[in-house]
């Protein structure tokens, strides 16, 4: 099964955020360039928001990957909820200050003023909606002191307008919203990913009908699309091993796409 035609495409869609798997799509590339430009500006905070699965984490990882070559960048992809730990980790990663005990905000600001960087260090915070308002207030104070520059990625929820929150409203100088992928963007995303890994035969199996069905099932969510593709190619690998005559190489079977969607929970059956 590991030598299957579909095993390699299956592994491409594992739900792992890797900047090397970044796929250039027109709208995402545009957003990324905006983000890079904003980072170069003397901004205190940059907000990156959008619905789940719109590629915020990927952009942050890509940005971290690209900026880390030139300046001090630290990314916290798993939120550190405790205030003392948060400041201690920042002091350690940014200023190389090692201390087993938690430090206060005053201590952290004194440390920041003592260390002089030519470019303000950048901190990338993923899943920032999980931080408490108190910690967000501390982050605001740090950015106000220009000790650090924050790029904050968080989910945009329907019930809560995060931009209206007090600690973001007056200080965010740049906000970038990411949108769900259109069917065309999803097609480019899947095919580029497959072609990048030289899976030409599999990439040619996708027709417009398949793409529209996948887009309808995933609603343009990249993460769901990855999960669906992973299940679909697992399914194809099984049929290739057990019933190879059932596979048609000119198009994907709608039935198998729906079965993969049932398996991933996109369809409630």
């Amino acid at each position: 099964m590991e030598n299957s035609l579909f095993s390699k495409p299956r592994d491409l869609f594992l739900d792992i955020v890797n900047p090397r798997d970044y796929v250039q799509i027109d709208s995402v590339s545009y957003m990324y360039q905006n983000l890079k430009t904003s980072v170069q500006k003397p901004l205190k905070m940059i907000l990156l928001y959008g619905k789940p699965g719109t590629g915020k984490s990927m952009l942050l990882h890509k940005l971290h990957h690209d900026l880390s070559k030139h300046q001090k960048v630290f990314m916290i992809d798993i939120p550190i909820i405790d205030e003392g730990d948060f400041l201690r980790v920042l002091a350690q990663k940014i200023y190389s200050y090692v201390n087993r005990e938690a430090i206060t905000l005053t201590d952290f600001l004194e440390l920041a003023s003592a260390v002089n960087y030519t470019q303000t260090p950048i901190v990338l915070l993923d899943e920032a909606q999980l931080y408490t308002p108190i910690l967000m207030e501390k982050i605001r104070l740090i950015s106000d002191a220009r000790a650090l520059k924050f790029v904050i990625a968080l989910h945009k929820t329907e019930n809560e307008d995060i931009i209206a929150k007090e600690h973001f409203q007056t200080r965010i100088w740049e906000s970038i919203e990411l949108k769900n992928a259109s069917p065309e963007e999803l097609k480019v995303y899947i095919q580029k990913k497959l072609l990048k890994a030289n899976c030409f035969d599999v990439a040619s199996m996708f027709n417009d009908k398949n793409i529209h069905l996948i887009s309808k099932l995933t609603r343009g969510n990249y993460r769901d699309a990855n999960k669906l593709m992973f299940s679909l190619f697992t399914l194809y690998a099984w049929y290739e091993e057990n019933y190879p005559t059932k596979i048609k190489h000119n198009a994907l079977k709608t039935k198998w796409i729906e079965m993969a969607a049932i398996h991933t929970g996109l369809i409630r059956a």
Binding site: L235, M259, A269
Partner: protein
């Protein structure tokens, strides 16, 4: 590892569940269309089903055999029986007759029954006469009986009734009829009176003047009859009146 068989069953359930509303809508629409079609055409014309039933019922009738084709149809004469045949005039003996023994009468002593009780009035076919009154009904006895007796039904013809009608409505045709009736029956004075009344109502009826003058002649008043005729001829130029006047003059010359 995927459980493909379980996944296929779940997919099948999902497809059925997803198709069910469409099937129900299709079924409902079909029922509505059929019901609408049924109610739409049932009020106007007979439905095709009815026509088919009629056709099939016609088809189910047995075909005429050769024997049936050779059968000659004849008109039913039963309607003759429906015609009212006058029951024979049989005199039912009075059951409540006195218990006294009936004396035996020898056959020779029986009087011969008169077949015609009275002569029928002869009515001439004259122009400008009223439609004939209902004639006395002739009651035929049993056709099998050789001795046919004709009796006059006096109840249906009564000259007095006609006279009363003439008195009430003064119809000149009735007056003429009554005058003719009396003249034919030899009752010349009555014929004179009714002819005179008729002429007073309508003086253009030729026959009424003729009956009037003939009645005068029969009553022996020939001169008055001549004068009346001359007066009438001068006004109407009636040929019959002229012939009658000429006849009177010739008889007078003889």
């Amino acid at each position: 590892m995927l459980d493909i068989h379980s996944l296929e069953q779940r997919w099948l359930k999902y497809k059925i569940k997803r198709s069910l509303p469409y099937l129900l809508i299709l079924l409902g629409t079909t029922i509505v269309v059929i019901a609408f079609d049924h109610f739409l055409y049932s009020d106007k014309v007979s439905t095709p089903l009815t026509v088919k039933k009629e056709i099939s019922s016609v088809k189910k009738q047995p075909k005429a055999s050769v024997h049936d084709e050779a059968m000659v149809l004849e008109p039913s004469m039963q309607f003759i029986q429906s015609i009212t045949v006058a029951t024979p005039d049989i005199t039912v003996p009075d059951v409540t007759a006195p218990a006294t023994p009936i004396p035996v009468i020898p056959k020779k002593a029986l009087p011969v029954q008169k077949q015609i009780s009275s002569p029928l009035p002869i009515i001439k076919n004259v122009q400008n006469t009223p439609p004939a009154p209902p004639m006395p009904k002739l009651i035929l006895s049993n056709p099998g009986n050789k001795t046919t007796s004709i009796k006059r039904d006096s109840a249906t013809f009564n000259i007095h009734e006609i006279e009363e009608r003439f008195t009430s409505n003064s119809n000149p045709h009735l007056g003429l009829y009554i005058a003719r009736y009396h003249y034919d029956n030899g009752n010349y004075s009555e014929a004179y009176n009714y002819a005179l009344k008729t002429n007073a109502i309508n003086n253009t009826i030729d026959e009424s003047w003729l009956i009037f003058t003939k009645s005068l002649i029969k009553l022996g008043r020939t001169e008055q009859a001549k004068k009346t005729l001359q007066l009438y001829i001068s006004q109407s130029n009636s040929e019959e009146a002229k012939n009658l006047l000429n006849g009177l003059r010739k008889e007078g010359e003889k």
